[in-house]
Amino acid sequence: MNPEFLLGSVLLLVGTIAAAFPRPRTYLNRLINLEISAWGLLLLMLSYNEALALLTFGGVSALTVYIFVRVLQKKEAAV
């Protein structure tokens, strides 16, 4: 049981619960809480020594956040 595995699973669980039930119920809080879970998954990948998966997931995570931000901006402009 590595410390990375333990820490990553705790972070993944807590981040998923926080993203499902955010305290002030806005989309921005949901998006920021989703990043906790993303870093937890990154720690889990680190625990299995998957270097290429880490590299790919790091790039795709930033791209996903950018797409979500564009969706939120479009939604704010429409209202």
């Binding site: 590595n2 410390p3 990375e4 595995f5 820490l7 705790v10 972070l11 807590v14 981040g15 926080a18 305290r23 002030p24 921005l28 809080n29 998006l31 920021i32 809480n33 990043e35 906790i36 870093w39 990154l42 720690l43 680190l46 625990s47 299995y48 020594n49 270097a51 880490l54 590299l55 790091g58 790039g59 995570s61 930033a62 956040v65 950018y66 931000v69 939120l72 901006q73 704010e76």
Partner: protein
């Protein structure tokens, strides 16, 4: 059931105090991120959590991955800051 890959023993140079310190950083950052309600405070707490995660990547010896993640992670925060500008306050 496949067992996880064995540790690269020659790269592990971190003693227990450093692991405990950065684990404290990660847990404190995550709990603070969940508890705060202002988006700026949430992003600052997320910075604490990223600072705790980064030495674990370096500790495995994956230095190229650490360089890439360290340069990509602030981009994610910048994209989030684009939508949480001071709208109403």
């Amino acid at each position: 059931m496949p067992s996880p890959a064995p540790l690269q023993e020659d790269w592990i140079a971190v003693n227990e105090v450093l692991v405990l310190a950065f684990a404290i950083l990660v847990i404190l950052g995550a709990l603070l991120t969940i508890r705060e309600s202002d988006p700026f405070r949430k992003l600052i707490s997320l910075g604490i959590m990223i600072g705790g995660v980064m030495p674990f990547i370096v500790d495995r010896g994956l230095l190229d991955v650490a360089i890439a993640i360290a340069l990509i992670a602030p981009l994610s925060t910048l994209f989030t800051l684009m939508v949480c500008g001071r709208g109403e306050s």
